[in-house]
Symmetry: C2
Subunit: 404 residues, 2 copies
């Protein structure tokens, strides 16, 4: 008799955003007349920019003609896209990344889950707490997290690095030594970030203890302050200890278009084995490339027009973040984030739990947010609002919260 992967049975409940979607659907069904506004899941609302739309129409036409049709893509992704990535995301910031260190994918969520494939089961992971649930859940699926302890809402074999008001929402170097460290800056969910000097400490630490950093830079386009690094490779020595994940979802609105990439420098080795080669093997064996049309869309993000247009989009969302921050502050809430990231992290009022506040906000203001505790135990007492709504809805939502 075949055996299932029993690790799946250890997972508590279902994926956070699936849970929220179910709660919201139930509320809407019971209250069809209510105008529910979601500032919950980090999904964008602005349409794709004209440069991207034009590139996709052109690529669709190419697919209609036998002489310009594209079948299977190259394993690592089309060179036109990888060149644009190398030049704009790295060279322009003084970072030297080779074309075959860039792996184009269908998004950072897939990559952040799949990257675990190239590591042994007996690695101990360290995550920020709160944290994007995918890092922990996918490691749980691989048997790397030990047992789930419901009372603590923690896994027995995960090193949690609390990011709370007391730590200025940044993790401190862990007391126990991890093998794999997940870092995400600008951070989801707290919207906080760290300086280049602070990230350098993490790189130095990882190199010292022989850990690998999975660095999720999905929100780098939202950085507004000068001393915040856009890539971990801006730090000295990062190439020997870090993998970087990037996404087109938030900088260019590709949440429903699906494109991302992972960078694995060839200097990154474990006992002489290059992680770049392992990932190349996985990428070539278990994946068949992002669609040609979508890779052309990604290339267009780096065109002059595309850069200007996506910059405007980011500014639009960051204006929403400002509206949320200022509105909540004036209503007496304690808020953080929102300056280098499209997420505002607020303390729930009157000692409410995160889920109580979720229910309260949904029922009384018809606003959907994300309970901080859904991202980890140290998220309890916090709540995430995203700046990805429309400006009109964001204004309306904040007025409703102020009126509570």
């Amino acid at each position: 008799m075949y055996k299932i992967n029993e690790n799946y049975l250890k997972l508590p409940g279902s994926y956070l955003f699936s849970n929220i979607a179910k709660k919201v659907a139930a509320y809407k069904e019971a209250n069809p007349q209510k105008d529910v506004i979601s500032l919950g899941i980090g999904d964008v609302t602005q349409p794709l920019c004209p440069a991207v739309i034009d590139a996709m129409h052109k690529a669709v036409d190419e697919m209609a003609d036998g002489t310009t049709f594209h079948g299977y893509a190259p394993d690592l992704g089309y060179e036109f896209l990888r060149s644009a990535i190398r030049d704009n995301d790295y060279k322009a910031r003084g970072v030297d990344i080779a074309l075959d260190e860039i792996f184009v994918s269908d998004g950072a969520k897939s990559d952040s889950g799949n990257i675990g494939d190239i590591f042994a089961e007996n690695n101990r992971i360290a995550v920020c707490d709160p944290v994007y649930p995918v890092y922990v859940d996918t490691n749980a699926m691989s048997g790397r997290t030990g047992e789930y302890l419901p009372e603590q809402e923690k896994w027995s074999n995960v090193i949690y690095m609390p990011c709370t008001k007391a730590t200025n929402f940044a993790p401190e170097l862990p007391k126990e030594t991890p093998d794999i460290i997940y870092l995400c800056f600008p951070n989801n969910p707290t919207g906080s970030t760290i300086t280049k000097a602070q990230l350098q400490e993490w790189v130095d630490y990882a190199n010292k203890v022989g850990a690998v950093i999975i660095y999720d830079a999905a929100y780098e386009a939202y950085i507004s302050e000068d001393d915040v690094p856009h890539s971990i490779y801006e730090c000295d020595g990062a190439k020997t200890c870090a993998i970087e994940l990037r996404s087109f979802s938030k900088n260019a609105g590709f949440t429903g278009t699906r494109l991302g990439f992972t960078v694995i420098p060839k200097e990154l080795e474990s006992n002489g084995v290059k992680l770049n080669a392992l990932w190349a093997r996985r990428h070539g064996t278990k994946f068949n490339g992002a669609p040609y049309i979508i890779q052309r869309a990604g290339e267009a993000v780096y065109s002059e027009a595309g850069k200007a247009q996506t910059k405007e989009q980011v500014a639009y969302y960051m204006n929403n973040a400002k509206v949320i921050m200022e509105g909540l502050k004036s209503a007496g809430f304690h808020v953080s984030g929102g300056v280098n990231a499209p997420y505002v992290w607020l303390e729930t009022p009157d000692g409410m739990t995160s889920w109580d506040f979720f229910d309260h906000l949904l029922a009384n203001a018809n606003i959907v947010g994300t309970p901080g505790s859904g991202f980890g135990p140290s998220g309890e007492g916090y709540f995430r609002l995203t700046a990805f709504g429309t400006y009109e809805n964001t204004l309306k939502a904040i007025e409703r919260i102020k009126a509570l």
Copy 2:
């Protein structure tokens, strides 16, 4: 110090088609004046049909407008696509599949690799020999295949089911009991297939011994004979033992467009655990959906125009298959396949090895095919040609082979 997944180090060489691509690139660089024709990798050459092109242009325009923009897709895929799949691929064949038993993905290659995630490491797999390399390689990556034995070109813990001339290129029930059985009909690489009665034997066997069948039906659109099943669920009892993988790559030319789906019936249980729920959890946690534009393209394949146009494409390729079959036969080759599948399987002449014949054909006829031994030890002495070239190139290639 972090540890890598040592199973990757056991993998011999690189992925078959990457190897071929390297050999061909080297030949072309050394012989830039040669007109190399590929009947090797199973990549299509005909453009996407007008119904699909129209649907994609329309979907691109929707993404350009805030009121019709689409962000994150539903976990299982859009209902418009899953309904079309249910109605056309299943209901129309008398098979009752529910919408939440269909999981839309970025292709059958990804699914056939990723499906292993929901099974324990200590399952023993059985595969046809020769076989699509992804099934074996991805299980090797998960530590399920034992050690690689270079002299036998086999893994120590895999049950190989030879499919040779002696078995009419169909597998026989294995002597040792497997936990997971991979079947692909119409078959890649041999182009052979089995009847519904034969497949029923496999379903009965799997139910009897408690095995699960991973049924890859990527080539079902090429079936021309009546008693060949298009879905394993046409067999009684398949819902309690089988997962079916489907692709848009070959029936609609989506190799570079990327779309597929997996069906997991809710009746499929292991000790009371539904595999459907496990895959739903994986799908929701490690994947973020196929692009909206591509899901609309998939829907268009099932429109009346789309069905007529893709049927014409399949007929075009099957005419190529006929050209290959008849040409090779008249040149004295022994061939099989090519009737219900776009692959022709030929015996290498004069006792040549598969790779010798590959080199011979590349050097002397400038034709790229795929060495049978690349698909497994029982593929030695065979060679795969695909019908996915253009008609003109296929004719030219066969003339060249005949002239050898």
